[in-house]
Symmetry: C2
Subunit: 234 residues, 2 copies
């Protein structure tokens, strides 16, 4: 089985003046997460897409999915956890309860706030996860990246051609992912900021697939403006 | 004296379907570089702003500056060089010929394709260059950065809180900058990709000042769309 997982538990404090978390901001009459979900569902290889959401948004989200998605039966909404890793754990537990775990299952973990993920990225990600066990989506860095431990003086400038901006999705063979998840120490779990780190913390390789500038993440007000523009809602 | 320097020699191959380099694309009736220049001129501390441009655009640019900038006498247009470092060298040679070099001169080197640079950034950059000798403008990285020498498998994921996306301007005490420029070997000069590297190659410290998301660089078509949107030209 091929599973999608979307984490919609964030509170999105960097978008100002928004009354709701950024994944629920409505653009063109639909919350951002529904735009993302519609694009994920275009990839027919997904058997089920799990959404881990904040409990107070589950009712609203269920209604939105029923009303605005062509195949709501391919979508399951569950309660997210406190941190990103807790939400992912809730998804893998739900998958196991629903269908059991098979050695060739793949999980594609995407951000609700990257609405323009392409079918090419989703297909490449599924293929690379099946072949290599784990993959991330990365775009060559356009900017010079400065390394500074204290944040006031540059310690070094890493070679730009060796750096990639990590996008989502991160995809894994599901059984491999669950084994790595279980092997994390509480200390590792506390500091992890992205699912790809589960591999580096376990000493496991991660393949890179090619990202796309359009697969950007809504982080700031100007990103939101860009989404409105691209969706013709201005 | 406080000098601005703008490098407008690039050919900008990542913006597709553009008949001219991206710094000359017209938005709201004005080329991008004039928008950038107008924002730089808002900072009254600049005595002179030098623009190093491709020779085939000098006539057009001169006309644009005369027509569309309030204080054209604060602007000097000179021929850029083959590479970024050659253009900067041409600027420092022109400054020396025009005014000589004084120990407390500061040079603020900006990108023509970052039109929305703020007065705060320009002021902070001038102050930090005067105080510390050299500074870059950096924004904490919002994305996970992946390090991969070969580009296919992740080698490591550097700690995100220690990484900053370098923006422009890079600013320097001018005499310090010229000494570092002269100390570069031809090999160093050939591989340098940003002016801040002139410090790391010379083993000299660089201070970081705080950037701003609005000070983004026009790299892709979607960046260009963003500029059009922000300038109301759609």
């Amino acid at each position: 089985m091929i599973y999608g997982a979307m984490l919609a538990g964030g509170s999105g404090t960097r978008v100002k003046n928004a009354p709701v978390p950024k994944q629920f901001i409505e653009i063109g009459g639909l919350p951002v997460i529904i735009h993302t979900l519609r694009n994920m569902l275009k990839c027919t290889r997904f058997d089920l897409i799990y959404i881990a959401a904040r409990e107070d948004f589950i009712g609203y989200l269920t209604e939105q999915v029923e009303k605005n998605v062509s195949e709501p039966r391919r979508v399951r909404i569950i309660a997210g956890g406190k941190e990103r890793m807790d939400s992912i754990h809730n998804v893998t537990v739900a998958i196991e309860a629903d269908n059991g775990i098979n050695e060739d299952d793949v999980i594609v973990i995407h951000d609700a706030v990257r609405p323009f993920v392409t079918e090419k990225i989703l297909n490449d990600s599924i293929d690379a996860a099946a072949k290599f066990g784990a993959c991330v989506c990365g775009l060559p860095c356009a900017d010079t990246i400065l390394h500074s431990v204290r944040g006031d003086v540059v310690d070094d400038i890493p070679t730009r051609s060796e750096l990639f901006c990590g996008q989502a999705p991160d995809s894994f063979r599901l059984a491999h992912f669950i084994r790595m998840q279980e092997a994390l120490t509480p200390e590792q779990r506390a500091v992890i900021t992205g699912t790809s780190q589960i591999c580096t913390m376990n000493g496991q390789p991660i393949h890179i697939i090619e990202g796309d500038a359009i697969n950007f993440k809504i982080t700031t007000d100007s990103d939101l403006l860009m989404v409105r523009t691209l969706l013709g809602d201005r």
